[in-house]
Amino acid sequence: MTDATGPLIEVHDLVKTFDVSRPWLARVLERLPVQTLKAVNGVKFTIRRGETFSLVGESGCGKSTVARLVVGLDRPTRGSVVFDGTDLAGLRRRSDIAPLRRRMQMIFQDPYASLNPRWRVEDIVAEPVNAFRLVANRSERRRKVAESLRQVGLSPEDARKFPHEFSGGQRQRISIARALAANPDFLVCDEPTSALDVSVQAQILNLMKDLQKRFGLTYLFISHDLSVVYHVSSRIGVMYLGRLCEISAAKDLFRQPRHPYTRLLLDTIPDVEMTGRERVSVPGEVPDPIDPPSGCSFHPRCPFANERCRQELPTPLQRGQGMVACHAVEEERLPPFKRSDPGQ
């Protein structure tokens, strides 16, 4: 069953719709139709062992929903998530799911909400240890908790404290320690640094990189911050309104973005090097996902849109190692991208 050379995660045509209708009685009385929101619409990607795959996009584009679907917090409406050769949707029995759950853990966005305020750190970190019966007795458990805390740069003495005695960055370390305590292979990081100060962000990102090297972890990294993504990713997927519009190796994406939306995102990165580059703001608003535009959902904001873009949904095209879904790319009518690499 386990194929050590294949990808760790395969996501096939994932769709998640949410019912956003008014309450039943109000809907019947006011004769409103059932309204659904397609938060994720046909997303498809694979994550190789040991790499960091990032999903970027504006808020509301469905990237966090993808994260929740991948770890199994929500059930997909359609499509499948295959973890190490096993389709998660096919598993019903708790005893079958438990070993896979141990192997995939999650780090959350808000370090103030991700730790139960009434639990001591040792209980928080020991929760997965107990749930998966990883240790036989109390002293082993204490050793395991101390080890996890040390791995994230905290002291074993911190185990007796409560979450409110820590700063945001330290809390995020506790969150990582909890995830590590399960001995996982795969970590889903849902905007793990966006609630932190910039200086602390770097520390947490470096910690995550170190841990990846030490334990051979695979990451799915969710972020809206391209400069963060640039530093951690092997490959990047760009999402817009529930769809993937481009997947590319991290370096290629920044040097040679193919999709007009990716170009737009890159233009909004602050110019830290003071090269005198004009920052271009993204024109227009993200459309209402309940009533998305026809054709390519990006066409109302796209400077290269034509009649075909307004009518027809672009199909994913293979480009090198990556993917892009754009009529303009297919028709080769995009001008070359001019912008300096932010890393140089």
């Binding site: 770890v71 199994g72 917090l73 438990a98 759950r101 991700s114 139960n116 749930a131």
Partner: protein
């Protein structure tokens, strides 16, 4: 111990407590009355439930400062020759006991239903909350009367007096679960979407354990406040039912029963039989209410 003492003295709650003389007095009164009720057999001059120690010749004796010659009864005696002070102490014991027991029932019922409604949601939530709203549209006392009456008519006649107190507890308890359920459901809805609950779900913790170990402790603050205010309501409800004659039997009188018994003698000038139990009830309920109001305000950061 010293650390504990410092933590109490340094807390916001203690600051707010020590700055309010009303609350200090209310706490003192509540504590004294509860202690007096708890230790009634030790401090009461007479056991009013022991019919052999009563003498009908001692009936209708006025309070000690008014009596011409007989000074044995500090607050006077009733028509059976019972010492009113002893009857109040024993009666308060029953009133407070029934109050606490029915709160415990309402709390367990309301908190469980609230947790289930909030965490599971969907149809179960709709069912529980609509039931709660229907019950809320009737006065509490009416519900308690109804339940009490139904249960009494089901029970065999010979066990009615023995089961009067349990029946009363169930009736008052069920009539009061709604507030707990609504509060706990609200908090549960907030807590269940927090990421620490997601983290627990992720590692496959059973929903019941998530509710009990993660969510329940975070809902207890408001629940304790409601329980304090509810204690006063429960005592009053019990007194009302007993006053109407459907509560505890006259052989083991609660404060409400005492007021009802004394009521018959009010117009013959023997005011002490009803007035002293009435005053005791009023003071107890007022003190508990003041305490509850303060707790509610102290726990609500918006009112600080």
């Amino acid at each position: 111990m010293g650390g504990m003492y410092r933590r109490v003295v340094d807390s916001d709650l203690w600051f707010s407590f020590s700055r309010s003389p009303t609350v200090v007095v209310a706490t003192a009164v509540t504590t004294i009355m509860m202690m007096a009720a708890l230790f009634a057999p030790l401090i009461a001059p007479q056991d009013p439930f022991d019919l052999t120690s009563l003498s009908i010749l001692d009936a209708h004796i006025p309070p000690a400062w008014m009596a011409a010659d007989d000074h044995r009864f500090l607050l006077g005696s009733d028509d059976q020759g019972r010492d009113v002070l002893s009857a109040i102490l024993y009666g308060a014991r029953i009133s407070i006991g029934v109050g606490f027991a029915s709160i415990a029932l309402a709390l367990v019922l309301g908190v469980s239903l609230g947790l289930l409604a909030g965490y599971i949601g969907g149809r179960l939530d709709a069912l529980i909350m609509r039931t709660a709203e229907i019950q809320l549209s009737f006065p509490t006392i009416l519900i308690a009367l109804l339940l009490n009456g139904v249960m009494r008519s089901i029970l065999p006649a010979e066990s009615q007096d023995q089961l009067a107190i349990p029946v009363l507890i169930v009736a008052i308890g069920i009539s009061g679960w709604v507030q707990y359920a609504r509060t706990v459901r609200g908090t549960t809805l907030v807590e269940k979407n927090k990421e620490y609950v997601q983290a627990a779900r992720l590692i496959g913790i059973h929903p019941v354990m998530i509710m009990l170990r993660h969510i329940l402790p975070n809902t207890m603050g408001p629940v304790l406040v409601i329980a304090t205010i509810h204690l006063a309501v429960a005592i009053i409800t019990e007194a009302t039912l007993s006053f109407l004659g459907v509560g505890v039997p006259p052989t083991e009188p609660s404060l409400g029963t005492l007021i009802r018994i004394g009521n018959d003698f009010l117009f013959s000038g023997e005011w002490w039989i009803t007035m002293f139990p009435g005053a005791a009830l009023a003071i107890l309920v007022l003190a508990v209410n003041l305490l509850g109001d303060w707790l509610r305000d102290a726990f609500n950061p918006k009112l600080r």
